[in-house]
């Protein structure tokens, strides 16, 4: 098979158009935000590992794998992204443990068959809000811990709503996810929103909360600057 000569070699207009894509540069803020979110979500990866190892243990009968799987699952709990609504006390295997393993396992069997051709995001729902949608800040009496996908969806919708000046989705996320995987980002969005609308005192309260809960946040420095004003 022969490779055709690259179009960029033609020079002139063709070269200008092709090479224009090389000017694309990601923002530093976006990069650090993505890193922080990924690190926060690592707990979900631990749950995945747990399910994989539990599956292997079932097949081979190796108790070591079960022990590691239990640890990995427990490691996923603190970041509130496990697919369970029950509390798991470390060292105690509750019914939620086996439930989470059972739900995660099938997807792993499929994904380990062919990682390259798997659908890594097939389970992600559409993240777009409906046109003109506004979400009323309805009270949420008892709400199970949101899955990572649900949190991504909610925060994405919150960003779109913020662009219209609607903070209700963001407020709901913050109220409902005191330990959510994306809470650091949500807090920062709230701080910026408060700052932009002149509510500096409230912004400072939230900035203190961010620094206290996430001292290594990529937004920590900016939060400190707000407190110093």
């Amino acid at each position: 098979m022969t490779s055709p000569p690259r179009l960029v070699g033609r020079g002139g207009l063709t070269r200008s158009i092709i090479e224009s894509a090389k000017g694309d540069q990601p923002s530093r803020e976006g990069r650090e935000r993505a890193r922080a979110a990924g690190l926060a979500a690592l707990g979900a990866g631990a749950a995945t590992s747990a399910a994989l190892l539990a599956g292997a243990a079932k097949a081979t009968g190796k108790t070591t794998a079960i022990a590691v799987a239990k640890w990995a699952l427990l490691a996923a709990i603190p970041v509130s992204v496990a697919t369970t609504s029950y509390v798991v006390v470390q060292g105690t295997k509750s019914r939620s443990t086996s439930r989470a393993l059972a739900t995660a396992e099938p997807s792993l069997v499929a994904s380990t068959a062919s990682v390259a051709s798997s659908s890594p995001v097939a389970e992600l729902p559409s993240l777009a809000p409906e046109p003109g949608s506004t979400v009323a800040p309805a009270p949420q009496p008892v709400r199970r811990a949101a899955s990572l996908e649900e949190q991504i969806t909610e925060l994405d919708a919150a960003r779109h709503a913020l662009a219209r000046g609607d903070t209700s989705i963001l407020d709901r996320y913050l109220a409902s996810n005191p330990h959510g995987a994306l809470r650091e980002q949500a807090l920062w969005l709230k701080i910026k929103s408060l700052e932009e609308t002149g509510r500096h005192d409230q912004a400072k309260v939230r900035a203190r909360e961010l620094l206290s809960s996430y001292p290594r946040s990529p937004n920590a420095e900016a939060a400190r600057r707000i407190l110093e004003r």
Binding site: A21, S111, P120
Partner: protein, 198 residues
């Protein structure tokens, strides 16, 4: 562009905690693996999303989604296949983003050929970067996503057809035929631009 040579050990972070019982060490190993994956491939993911039609404004958010998926699937990513995994996730995220954007009625990028009436453009004309980027988007947005992906990897990123076949997991013949169709499409649209769209 080179393929990722680094092995991000999927099982290694978990295994690290088995013998020692030190959970934080395992956690740190997972963080290191993720950070390494992130540092080596974030720019590639971000640029891939842009080339697949995600706007500059939305690319940060969409890249974040790709790495959230990667974090959750870290244990499943085969050593040496990191970039392939991230590219596959990027294509799906970009496809979803484009679909969602169209459902909202947003102009993701100009999809209408009529908007390509850029006036007379000489073949040897050198455009400013911003204008050239707009034209590239306009042409790429009229391509099928699979062809667009191969076109970008070959013509913009400079990968060989063998590398592309390995990256996206299709036979080399498929890469060649997609690239041929994409190049014909590109040249047809560029030719229209040079004549001025009718």
């Amino acid at each position: 562009m080179q393929h990722a040579a680094t092995r991000v050990g999927a099982a290694a972070p978990v295994a690290a905690g088995v013998g020692t019982g030190v959970e934080t060490a395992t956690e740190n190993a997972a963080e290191r693996a993720f950070n390494q994956l992130f540092d080596e491939h974030y720019d590639f993911v971000w640029a891939t999303l842009r080339r697949l039609g995600v706007s500059a404004e939305a690319a940060d958010d969409e890249a974040q989604k790709v790495f959230l998926v990667a974090a959750r699937k870290l244990a499943d990513i085969q050593p040496g296949r990191e970039r392939a995994f991230l590219h596959g996730a990027s294509v799906r995220i970009a496809s979803d983003a484009r679909y969602s954007s169209r459902r909202r009625g947003e102009i993701f990028a100009s999809l209408d050929d009529a908007s390509m009436s850029a006036g007379e453009l000489a073949a040897d004309e050198l455009l400013d970067q911003k204008r050239a980027r707009e034209l590239l988007d306009q042409i790429l947005d009229t391509m099928d996503l699979d062809e667009r992906s191969v076109f970008a990897l070959y013509e913009i990123d400079g990968l060989t057809m063998i590398e592309i076949a390995d990256l996206i997991g299709v036979p080399q013949g498929t890469v060649a035929s997609r690239l041929k169709r994409a190049r014909e499409h590109f040249e047809r649209k560029l030719s229209r631009l040079q004549r001025g769209a009718r």
